[in-house]
C-alpha cells in the first residue's frame, strides 16, 4: 500500500513566559492507505500535540517543525489559508467531545454541507443530498430528519457519528481521531469502533487513533506507536507489541490494564508519575519509573532503533522483560 502521510523529525515546542517546553521530539512514522495506526500514551505524552501540529491547530504559543508530507506537500509551516486547501478535504480530525466541535446554532445539514460547498464547489441542493447520504452511511437512523436537527437534539453517540460523517464528506486520505470513544458508553463505543473498521476498509481512509485505552487499540489497530515524555518509545504491529512488548513502559501499560475476561488478583501498575515536560529526567525519560534500569539509563537517552525487522524501540535494556524477576 502506498504511504499517504509521512512524518519526519517532527518537533513541537511551546513558548512559556520565560522558558521553552518541547512537547514532541523527533517523531517519525509513515501511514499507509487504509491502515489504522494507534498512538498510545498517557496525559502529557505529546500524542495529541503531535497531530494538532500536523493539522495546524496548535495553541498560539506552540510551533511545529520538521516534515509531515501529505503527498508532495509539507503541512508543517503552512499558513492557515494554505492549510485550508487540505484540511477537511485530504486530512481531517475529530475530537473527544463532539459538542465542542459542532456549531450549536447551525442545523446539521448546514454545517456539514458547508464542507462540500467550500471544498468541492457543490451547490446547497447537492450538498444536502450528499450530507444525508453520508449520515446514513455512518449509521444514523432517519437521516433526513436528523439533518434538520440542531446538535443539542442529538445524543452523544449520534453527535460523534455526525462528526465522523463531516470528517468523511470529502473522502479524506487521512482521518485523525483523538480519543473518539472516550466519552461514550461501551455499547456505543463498540458501534463506533465497528464503524471505523468499515470506513477504513470501504473508503481506504488511513486512520490515526489517538487513545489511552489499550482495549480499543487491540480491536482496531494494525500498528501502534507508544509515546512517553514527547517521544515514541516503541512502535510496531499491534500483535507484536501486545504479545511481546520490548519496552518496559509498553509492558507496564499492558500490566496496568484490567481485562474483563479474567480477573487478576492484583494489577501491576507502573510506579511513580508521568514526568512533567518542563522537567524531563536526564537520560531515558522513563528511568525513574523503570524496573529494568541500569547505569546507562541515567545518563544517555536511548535512540529509537530497529529491533528484529518489524519494530523499533528506544531502550538500552536488551534482556528478557521478565516482570517477576525484578518486581
Amino acid at each position: 500500500m502506498a504511504d499517504v502521510l509521512v512524518v519526519d523529525d517532527l518537533d513541537v515546542t511551546f513558548q512559556l513566559h520565560n522558558s521553552e517546553v518541547k512537547a514532541v521530539s523527533d517523531l517519525d512514522f509513515a501511514l499507509a492507505e487504509g491502515e489504522t495506526l494507534a498512538v498510545v500514551g498517557e496525559s502529557g505524552s505529546g500524542k495529541s500535540q503531535a497531530f494538532l501540529s500536523i493539522m495546524g491547530l496548535l495553541a498560539k504559543n506552540g510551533k511545529g517543525s520538521g516534515r509531515a508530507m501529505l503527498g508532495d506537500t509539507n503541512l508543517i509551516g503552512l499558513s492557515p489559508g494554505e492549510l485550508d486547501r487540505y484540511r477537511g478535504k485530504d486530512i481531517a480530525m475529530i475530537f473527544q467531545d463532539p459538542m465542542t466541535s459542532l456549531n450549536p446554532a447551525l442545523r446539521i445539514r448546514t454545517q456539514l454541507g458547508e464542507v462540500l460547498v467550500r471544498h468541492q464547489g457543490y451547490d446547497r441542493e447537492r450538498a444536502n443530498r450528499a450530507v444525508i447520504e453520508m449520515l446514513e452511511r455512518v449509521g444514523i437512523p432517519e437521516p433526513v430528519k436528523r439533518a434538520s436537527a440542531y446538535p443539542h437534539e442529538l445524543s452523544g453517540g449520534m453527535r460523534q457519528r455526525v462528526m465522523i460523517a463531516m470528517a468523511l464528506l470529502c473522502r479524506p486520505k487521512v482521518l485523525i481521531a483523538d480519543e473518539p470513544t472516550t466519552a461514550l458508553d461501551v455499547t456505543v463505543q463498540a458501534q463506533m469502533l465497528d464503524l471505523f473498521k468499515t470506513l477504513t476498509n470501504d473508503f481506504g481512509t488511513a486512520l490515526v487513533l489517538i487513545t489511552h485505552d489499550l482495549g480499543v487499540v487491540a480491536g482496531v489497530a494494525d500498528r501502534m506507536m507508544v509515546m512517553y515524555g514527547g517521544r515514541c518509545i516503541e512502535k510496531g504491529p499491534t500483535d507484536t507489541l501486545f504479545y511481546d512488548p520490548r519496552h518496559p513502559y509498553t509492558l507496564g501499560l499492558l500490566h496496568s490494564t484490567p481485562n474483563v475476561d479474567k480477573r487478576a488478583a492484583r494489577l501491576d501498575p507502573i510506579q511513580g508519575l508521568p514526568p512533567s515536560l518542563e522537567h524531563l529526567p536526564r537520560g531515558c525519560a522513563f528511568h525513574p519509573r523503570c524496573a529494568f534500569r541500569f547505569d546507562r539509563c541515567f545518563e544517555e537517552r536511548p535512540p529509537l532503533l530497529p529491533v528484529e525487522d518489524v519494530r523499533e524501540k528506544a531502550c538500552w535494556y536488551q534482556g528478557e522483560l521478565n516482570y517477576e524477576e525484578v518486581a
Binding site: E42, S43, P141, S155, G156, G157, M158, D185, V186, T187, V188, Q189, A190, Q191, L193, D194, H212, D213, L214, G215, V216, V217, A218, G219, T238, D239, F242, Y243, G252, L253, L254, H255, S256, T257, P258, N259, V260, D261, R263, A264, R266, L267, D268, P269, I270, Q271, L273, P274
Partner: protein, 335 residues
C-alpha cells in the same frame, strides 16, 4: 475477624424521581431516575454498580448517603432507617458513610491546604478531637494512602490527578468510616495511575475492613474490584450476581450485550469476538417503554415483554435477574 454475613446496608423499594420543568405553565415532566431498588450490602464486601450513562447509578449512590432524599422506600444502616433522619442525626452517621468522587481536582477546595482538606470532615463529624489529635490523624491517613506527610501544607493545584485522588481518599478515610461509596473514582485517571489507585483501594479495604460500593461505567475495572455486581438499566436493577457468575454466565440479555461490547486488551481475542450490537440507544428516562424497559433494544423481546415490568427473580444460589425469558433463552451459544 469480620462477620461477612452481616447486612451492613439494606436498601428497600427505593424510588427517586426528578421533576423537569417543561415551561412556565406546563406540567413538569417526571424523570424516573430510580424505581423499586432493593439490595443488601454485606460487611466487608465490594458491591459494584454498573450501567450506561443516565441509568441512575450515581443517583443511587447519593440516595444511599442521603445526599439526595429518596421519594419512597427505606435505606437501613445497621438495621436503622436513615432515609428520614433529621440532618443533625444523619450527621452522626456520616462518619461511618463516606464518598469518593470522580474528578479529584474539582472536588477539592483550591483555597485549602491538603492538611485542612483532609481534616475538614473531623471538625463536624468528630468535634471531640482537638487540633493536635486532628493533625496526628491527618498524617497517619496521608501515610496510609501513599502521600508524603511533608505535603501537608501544599495546595491542591500542586498535585497531579492521581495524587489528588489520594487526597480525596484520605478525606473519606479520616473519620474511619465503615462504608465508602466510590463514584467513578478512577475514570479521570491515566491507565498506570488508575492501577495504582485500584490497588490502593483494595489494600485499604483489606487492612481497614472497609465495605465499598464501587460505581463505574467501566466493566473491566468493576470486575477487577467487586465481589458482587448490580447492573442498572433505566433506573431499575436488571441483574445482581457474584462477579464471576455475572461475567462468565450472564442471565440478562442486557448484561450480556454490555459485556460483549467491552474492549478486550488482547488483539487475537478481540478479532475472534463478535460484538452483539445493541439496537439503538438507551431510551429517554422521561418516556420509558411499557413493561420491560430493555425490550426496545433486546433481541429476545416478545410481545408479552411489553405487558408488565418483569419482577427481579431470585435464582437458585441467590443471584437475581429481571427477565421473564431468562430460562428459555440461551445467552451463551457454543463456539
Amino acid at each position: 475477624m469480620l462477620d461477612r454475613t452481616e447486612d451492613l446496608l439494606k436498601v428497600e423499594n427505593l424510588y427517586k424521581n426528578f421533576s423537569i420543568s417543561a415551561g412556565l405553565f406546563a406540567k413538569p415532566f417526571e424523570l424516573r431516575a430510580l424505581q423499586d431498588i432493593s439490595f443488601t450490602v454485606k460487611r466487608g464486601e465490594t458491591l459494584g454498580i454498573v450501567g450506561e450513562s443516565g441509568c441512575g447509578k450515581s443517583t443511587l449512590g447519593r440516595c444511599i448517603l442521603q445526599l439526595l432524599t429518596p421519594d419512597q422506600g427505606r435505606v437501613l444502616w445497621l438495621g436503622q432507617d436513615i432515609s428520614r433522619l433529621p440532618e443533625a442525626e444523619m450527621r452522626k452517621k456520616r462518619r461511618d458513610l463516606q464518598i469518593i468522587f470522580q474528578d479529584p481536582l474539582a472536588s477539592l477546595n483550591p483555597r485549602m491546604t491538603v492538611g485542612e482538606i483532609i481534616a475538614d470532615p473531623l471538625k463536624t463529624l468528630m468535634p471531640e478531637i482537638d487540633a493536635k489529635g486532628r493533625r496526628d490523624r491527618v498524617i497517619r491517613t496521608m501515610e496510609a494512602v501513599g502521600l508524603l506527610p511533608e505535603m501537608i501544607n501544599r495546595y491542591p493545584h500542586e498535585f497531579s490527578g492521581g495524587q489528588a485522588q489520594r487526597i480525596g481518599i484520605a478525606r473519606a478515610l479520616i473519620s474511619e468510616p465503615k462504608l465508602i461509596v466510590c463514584d467513578e473514582p478512577v475514570s479521570a485517571l491515566d491507565v498506570s495511575i488508575q492501577a495504582q489507585i485500584l490497588n490502593l483501594l483494595s489494600d485499604l479495604k483489606e487492612r481497614l475492613g472497609l465495605t465499598l460500593i464501587f460505581i463505574s461505567h467501566n466493566l473491566s475495572v468493576v470486575r477487577h474490584v467487586s465481589d458482587r455486581i448490580l447492573v442498572l438499566y433505566l433506573g431499575r436493577i436488571v441483574e445482581l450476581a457474584d462477579g464471576d457468575d455475572l461475567y462468565d454466565d450472564p442471565k440478562h440479555p442486557y448484561t450480556r450485550a454490555l459485556l460483549t461490547a467491552v474492549p478486550i486488551p488482547d488483539p487475537k481475542r478481540a478479532r475472534q469476538r463478535t460484538i452483539e450490537g445493541l439496537v439503538g440507544e438507551i431510551p429517554s428516562p422521561i418516556n420509558q417503554p411499557s413493561g420491560c424497559t430493555f425490550r426496545t433494544r433486546c433481541r429476545f423481546a416478545e410481545a408479552r415483554c411489553a405487558d408488565k415490568v418483569p419482577p427481579l427473580e431470585t435464582l437458585p444460589g441467590g443471584r437475581r435477574v429481571a427477565c421473564i425469558r431468562w430460562q428459555e433463552i440461551d445467552l451463551n451459544p457454543g463456539p
